[in-house]
Symmetry: C2
């Protein structure tokens, strides 16, 4: 079952249930999908407007990229849930004999590594998405400036949520070189996203306060 | 039609359409509803656990309050869309004669005032919601700490989105005392939310990095 086929109200009920999935990672991804859809909306509110003919082609390109990213992220939302469930499944493996313990440990390590790589891919895509939000915040229809700002806020929050998941998962991995390189990658991506988000936020606040 | 009855994928399509509503305000509200549902989830992951009997009652209370706030905010999401549509409707009124112009001006002012008060109510509720996220981030099941963090991120983003909408609407209102007092209220609430969100974020980051 894809989470995207649930009704909004059902999704919320499913979420607040005592089952740990879907959890923070999926919710943040959904929020940023909504944020990216807002970027696409701002493009559509700009395309065809006389005042914005100069940026018409850029808005069309941005719209296409936003829709594409949003679709890919919806898939990642399900993959994040699957990866989390796989970790839970590995923890549930039998641990009576030494062999079982070894198999279980390996299964947990593999599933956790996967559950780390999915949110890393998520941040990377959100970095691309926030660049699109930046484009519409600066060049899109000025009447929709705050929508561009909200888009950036949600994408940045989602990237940070993915960052939390990476940190947590790294904490239970024993492969030191993997931990170190993944951490460096995640911190670099996160810093990029935050920098862009705060620049968009300043621009939007200045702009809507005239 | 309530936005909450749409499927997640339909909501996203509706959003990215060239119609300006639903827009940033509604999306941010939905995201924070999801965030508040996460707070409720952390409560449910804490209640009944031996390690957390000390906070059992507090978690039950927090869960009830979170579910309540989340439901109220879903309603506000629709009210925000309605308020925005009312402003658009007022702008569409005839403006041929002096009488029509006067009526139209008054209708725009009234609708915009309403479209300012809805997001102010939204921030106030999100301030309450972020206090609940704070409770679960500090006292809830430690395995769900990052979920509490994501909850706070989304709620804070939603409050900021409502803040943008307030600023924009205040820009087109002529009633100076209303503008001034609403702005002061909004800034105070927003500062509260940001302070709490950054304290939760620090706590969560410290906590998940061991």
């Amino acid at each position: 079952m894809s989470l995207a086929t649930l009704r909004v109200s059902e999704f919320i009920d499913e979420l607040s249930s005592s089952s740990p999935a879907p959890g923070g990672g999926s919710v943040a991804a959904l929020s940023a999908c909504l944020g990216t859809a807002l970027t696409a909306m701002v493009c559509r509110l700009t395309i065809g407007k006389k005042k914005y003919t100069d940026v018409e082609q850029e808005m069309k390109d941005t719209e296409g990229k936003a829709i594409d990213l949003q679709k890919k992220q919806l898939e990642l939302m399900d993959r994040d849930t699957d990866a989390f469930n796989a970790v839970m499944g590995a923890f549930g493996m039998p641990k009576e004999t030494e062999d079982q313990k070894k198999l279980r440990h390996e299964a947990i390590q593999n599933a956790t590594r996967q559950a780390t790589l999915v949110p890393l891919e998520v941040i990377e895509r959100w970095r691309a998405a926030i660049s699109l939000a930046d484009t519409v915040a600066r060049k899109g229809n000025a009447n929709a400036r705050s929508d561009a700002g909200v888009s950036a806020l949600l994408i940045s929050a989602a990237a940070e949520a993915a960052f939390y998941n990476i940190l947590i998962n790294l904490g239970s991995l024993t492969d030191a070189p993997f931990v170190s390189s993944t951490r460096t990658d995640a911190e670099r991506l996160m810093a990029d996203v935050k920098k862009q988000a705060s620049s968009i936020r300043e621009h939007v606040l200045e702009s809507i306060q005239g």
